[in-house]
């Protein structure tokens, strides 16, 4: 079900013939697809198919052995992860990668780091510009906190939060960078239905309100089918299908490789 009120545009990111191997393990072989502006793309596939590796290639943590990534029209073989992030790509992680010693608020503020510029002498003195900058960004961070409804845990160290809330904070941190492309690795793992509903709502809102392009990996087919505009299916490092949720659902090789006996 493609919504009509948003404009899916040109390709924001193109993955061209990317291959990646670790010794004997071929994590990705010759994968190509594109992520279009403003869309929600789901990447699915069985365990070990190479989904997370794909995201890692996109944001520069892994370097593809072959192939290239074209982002906003610029092709690259290798780029520092920090630079990718500064170019408007942010992400969440499959194994939660929050800064455990910091509070929720600080974690989200860290997401805004790339947007802050005062040098450390100003920061040390803290009066004037640095303080204003800090407050301005604090306001933005609070907006995100409100949006994700995590006001109550603003000052809690994230290490103490239950799994589901940590996921939410992680999303907050990624959103704080005001990304153009948001990569989500299993954002709904470990959540119950109610929480998944919340999470879906956040994702959809981000997509609709800020027009953020989203690529997400998810194993819950219900979620994938409901919220994504397009689905890419990986299996053993290969792309085996690419299309609208309904097309993919009907695809026999996808059923064989991944869905198994459909539960729906």
């Amino acid at each position: 079900m493609v919504t009509d009120h948003k404009q899916i545009g040109e390709a924001l990111l193109q993955v061209n013939n990317v291959s990646l191997s670790f010794g004997a393990v071929q994590a990705l072989s010759d994968v190509s697809f594109e992520v279009r502006e403003h869309e929600i793309l789901a990447i699915i596939g069985p365990n070990g198919a190479g989904k997370s590796s794909m995201l890692n290639v996109i944001n520069g943590f892994y370097t593809a052995n072959e192939g290239s990534i074209v982002y906003k029209g610029i092709s690259r073989a290798k780029m520092e992860p920090a630079d990718v992030a500064r170019n408007g790509v942010s992400r969440t992680f499959q194994n939660i990668a929050l800064f455990r010693g910091m509070t929720t608020l600080d974690n989200i503020m860290t997401g805004r780091n790339t947007k802050m510029h005062r040098n450390f002498i100003w920061q040390a003195i803290y009066i004037g510009p640095a303080r204003n900058e800090e407050l301005e960004h604090r306001r933005k961070a609070e907006e995100i906190i409100d949006f994700l409804e995590i006001q109550a845990i603003r000052k809690t160290p994230v290490g103490r939060l239950p799994y589901g809330l940590q996921k939410r904070v992680e999303l907050g941190r990624a959103l704080a960078a005001e990304p153009e492309l948001l990569l989500l690795d299993e954002p709904m793992a470990g959540m119950n239905t109610e929480e998944k509903e919340d999470m879906c709502r956040f994702i959809l809102d981000v997509n609709e309100e800020f027009g953020t392009t989203i690529a997400l990996i998810e194993h819950d087919m219900g979620v994938v089918m409901d919220i994504s505009d397009r689905v890419v299916v990986l299996d053993y490092g290969r792309k085996i299908a690419d299309g609208s949720p309904d097309e993919v659902r009907g695809n026999q090789s996808v059923i064989d490789a991944y869905l198994g006996v459909s539960r729906e």
Partner: protein
């Protein structure tokens, strides 16, 4: 210009002129390296098996040999002395497990490291209290059948000098390392120990008895400490300043890799030879005693290429 000459051409000339001396230096470096490896081995064991960087290893070494020598000096036989020292070290491991380690399961490495710092203080005070920090003790080398003579090997008209003590240390180190390496790679307990080092909680959850594991490892490390202490003690005298020797182990450890028993030997040999060659051929040109930092710089250079040390387990970086 003079300086350039003395650090570039001169060492080469010296080596060519007097190759036997060079050989001597290499051999001496190897011997020294073995002595360092022995110290490093204790650290490596405990780290590998529990993820604890044991700052107290140096003190344990002194305690072990102090205990041995004290018993011997009191007129008991050497065998009894060795036995008592071993029992003492095993008892110590039980105590350490109960008091220090058990309440600290699942704490981050740095916290455990700190705990061993506290332990080091305690043991030093305790050791001085029991054995008397102020009396000087001498390792009974004859009773232990450790030769103290130099072996002279004639070669190309000049001669090479080897110390029996160093050779003995070499043999001990080789035996220890071979046994321990096998133990870790091939046995169930070895595997369990590596598991403990990775994740205390998960190890608990699969039923690995953390407590006995720790006692085993610390006891073994205690025995290694005893051997090390005897070797180092024999080459000078036994008192608490021997604790400083621990500093020699650090570069060896990182060069070989914290987690590798064979790495300790290789690291020791590289550091030993590198240090001696550098000191003998470059030391004076640079100002002398460059050994002080050279070992660390050498290790640093190696680490730039292999951040986990030569044989260390690869540091897993994933998201």
């Amino acid at each position: 210009m003079d300086f350039l000459y003395s650090v570039t051409a001169d060492p080469v000339l010296q080596i060519v002129e007097d190759p036997v001396f060079f050989l001597q230096i290499i051999l001496e470096g190897l011997m020294a390296g073995v002595m360092y490896s022995l110290v490093a081995l204790g650290f490596c064991l405990i780290y590998k098996a529990s993820g604890v960087f044991n700052f107290a290893q140096g003190v344990m070494m002194v305690l072990a040999v102090m205990c041995m020598v004290t018993v011997y000096d009191a007129g008991f036989g050497i065998l009894l002395a060795l036995l008592v020292a071993m029992v003492f070290m095993v008892g110590l491991s039980f105590a350490i497990e109960r008091v220090v380690l058990r309440p600290m399961v699942n704490q981050p490495q740095i916290i455990l490291f700190m705990a061993t710092i506290g332990l080091a203080f305690f043991l030093e005070g305790f050791g001085e209290f029991i054995f008397g920090g102020s009396s000087q003790k001498i390792v009974p080398t004859e009773a232990l059948h450790i030769g103290r003579d130099a072996l002279l090997i004639p070669m190309f008209g000049s001669e090479i000098r080897l110390q029996q003590l160093d050779l003995t240390a070499g043999v001990c180190a080789a035996l220890l390392v071979a046994t321990l390496a096998l133990f870790f790679q091939k046995t169930t307990v070895g595997r369990a120990l590596r598991a403990v080092a990775d994740d205390h909680q998960a190890a608990l959850s699969v039923g690995i008895p953390l407590r006995s594991m720790w006692v085993i490892v610390w006891s073994v490390a205690g025995l290694v400490a005893l051997v090390t202490g005897i070797m180092w003690g024999a080459s000078s005298s036994v008192d608490f300043s021997l604790v400083l020797i621990a500093m020699k182990a650090f570069p060896v450890l990182i060069l070989g890799g914290f987690t590798s028993v064979p790495g300790v030997i290789v690291g020791g040999l590289i550091i030993g030879v590198g240090e001696k060659v550098a000191e003998l051929y470059w030391g004076d040109a640079l100002g002398g005693s460059i050994e002080e930092w050279f070992a660390y710089v050498l290790a640093l250079v190696f680490l730039m290429f292999r951040p986990q040390g030569l044989f260390g387990e690869k540091i897993i970086e994933r998201v």
